[in-house]
């Protein structure tokens, strides 16, 4: 899905409005789902992921205010951009929607130019939020990787996705991966060395070095005196 096309949910109790909005949005290249009242809209929102919601204010059973409140109280959907639609143009309604956390407001009958601009702004907000979430998630991967290195259970591939980023975080992940692998390789080599730890002494070479020291007049003299020195 391109940056400008999105999954949009239209919640409106008026069949004509639903069809009108859906047709217009589909022409713009968006994927559209519809719901004919607040309760059905909330069901859909919980069942599927959306990028933007167009939400009618006045509906029987569950109205737009209620759906908006439910959305803003739900940690997983709190950031979903919501554009309220209503024929009402009274300031009180607009104020209440904004206070409840609506992102935008679109008066009925809708004007295509205004709808397009607001839908696009909503999509941009959603994309930015998604990027932020992804960034935080990937920072989390790097933090987890650091803990894994410390506990000796680091899996190099656990950072592959982060390392593909072309920003500073990606660079950090690549350098981290590289360094962790280097250290692991060095430790493996050392463990191998320990396994084979042997003390190999070239006896002939050592004997020659010992002789160079002990077969001197100084040494013979010292040796001669050593016992006497210790007795004193």
């Amino acid at each position: 899905m391109s940056a400008q096309t999105a999954r949009v949910l239209v919640v409106d109790d008026e069949p004509i409005n639903r069809r009108l909005l859906a047709r217009y949005l589909e022409r713009e290249g968006h994927e559209v789902a519809t719901a004919d009242d607040g309760a059905a809209g909330w069901e859909k929102l919980r069942a599927e992921p959306f990028d933007v919601v167009l939400l009618d204010v006045l509906m029987p059973e569950m109205d737009g205010y209620e759906v908006l409140e439910l959305l803003r109280a739900d940690p997983a959907r709190r950031h979903l951009p919501v554009i309220m639609i209503s024929s009402l143009e009274d300031t009180d309604s607009i104020v209440r929607c904004i206070e409840l956390g609506a992102d935008d407001y679109l008066p009925k009958p809708f004007r295509p130019v205004l709808l397009r601009a607001r839908i696009n702004a909503g999509i941009a907000r959603k994309r930015l939020h998604d990027l932020e979430l992804e960034y935080l998630e990937q920072v989390g991967h790097v933090v987890d990787a650091a803990a894994a290195v410390e506990q000796g259970r680091f899996d190099e591939r656990s950072l592959d996705a982060v390392a593909e980023r072309d920003d500073a975080l990606g660079n950090l992940a690549r350098i981290f991966q590289h360094m962790a692998c280097e250290i692991a390789a060095r430790e493996d080599a050392l463990k191998q060395q320990v396994h084979e730890l042997r003390i190999e002494i070239d006896e002939a070479k050592a004997a020659k070095q010992v002789a160079e020291i002990t077969e001197t007049d100084y040494f013979r003299d010292l040796l001669h005196k050593a016992d006497a020195l210790r007795q004193r």
């Binding site: 430790e187 050392l190 463990k191 320990v194 730890l197 042997r198 003390i199 190999e200 002494i201 070239d202 070479k205 050592a206 004997a207 070095q209 010992v210 020291i213 002990t214 100084y218 040494f219 010292l222 040796l223 005196k225 050593a226 016992d227 020195l229 210790r230 004193r232």
Partner: protein, 251 residues
């Protein structure tokens, strides 16, 4: 009953001076009067760890060897400067760090029997329980003498091939010198090594007691030469190991 122990290593960089200083402080913690003589006349260094700088060195081992003073006059009581509550005392006889003095001693040499007399005098004058000799790496004449006059020699080595060969030479020479007691201190042992296995293999290879297998420590490296590590981090696991080693050195 006093005891003279020479700390030696065949190559430089084994951590010999650091080990000597840490053992001295741990021994002073046990209420002992401990002396250290920096017999590494060519490249003195242990004074730095013990908080002494050039301006504080009025008399040194060089002055004694050149007949300018008694050896006890060259001893510096460094206990107070260590900024720690030590029930015992630590004295240092430093070597001169003056380049002219070092050049002179290298060029002219000195009467090595004086060193032995000095050691005996120092133990008596300062009522020392333990005297540690920090020797120059390798086996030059002063070092051989230091080993010959000691009750025990502690050979510090790192667990690597070059040190293994050099240590073999030192052990052989010390045996010929009939040093009463000899022990090995394996230092800077990588953490991935099985330290018990290192201890067994080193003991087997030299037929010699391994007094300690000390791990490589980033904390110690980072602290470097700023002082005596066991004073800076008394609760560090290494401090307990130096204390064990001090127990072995005291005998």
């Amino acid at each position: 009953m006093s005891r003279v122990v020479a700390f030696h290593s065949f190559r430089g960089g084994t951590g010999k001076s650091n080990t000597t200083a840490n053992v001295a402080v741990q021994a002073a913690r046990r209420n002992l009067r401990v002396g250290i003589v920096d017999t590494d006349i060519q490249s003195p260094g242990i004074h730095v760890l013990l908080g002494i700088d050039q301006s504080q060195i009025e008399r040194s081992l060089n002055d004694y060897l050149w007949g300018r003073c008694e050896i006890a006059d060259a001893a510096h009581d460094v206990t107070a400067g260590l900024h720690a509550e030590l029930p015992g005392r630590v004295f240092l006889v430093p070597s001169s760090i003056d380049a002219t003095d070092i050049a002179r001693v290298m060029h002219d040499g000195y009467d090595v029997s004086l060193l032995h007399e000095g050691i005996n005098a120092l133990v008596g004058d300062l009522s020392l329980d333990l005297l540690l000799l920090d020797t120059h790496p390798g086996l030059n004449e002063e070092t051989l003498l230091s080993i010959a006059v000691s009750d025990a020699v502690a050979i510090v080595l790192r667990p690597d091939q070059q040190d293994y060969e050099g240590t073999h030479v030192t052990v052989s020479v010390a045996r010929k010198l009939k040093v009463p007691e000899m022990m090995l201190v394996v230092n800077k042992t990588p953490l991935v090594f099985d330290h018990d296995q290192v201890r067994r293999r080193v003991a087997d290879a030299y037929g010699c007691d391994v007094a300690a297998v000390l791990p490589h420590s980033d904390d110690l490296m980072a602290f470097s030469s700023r002082g005596v590590f066991v004073l800076h981090r008394p609760d560090h696991p290494l401090a307990a190991m130096y204390d064990d080693l001090a127990g072995r050195i005291i005998g």
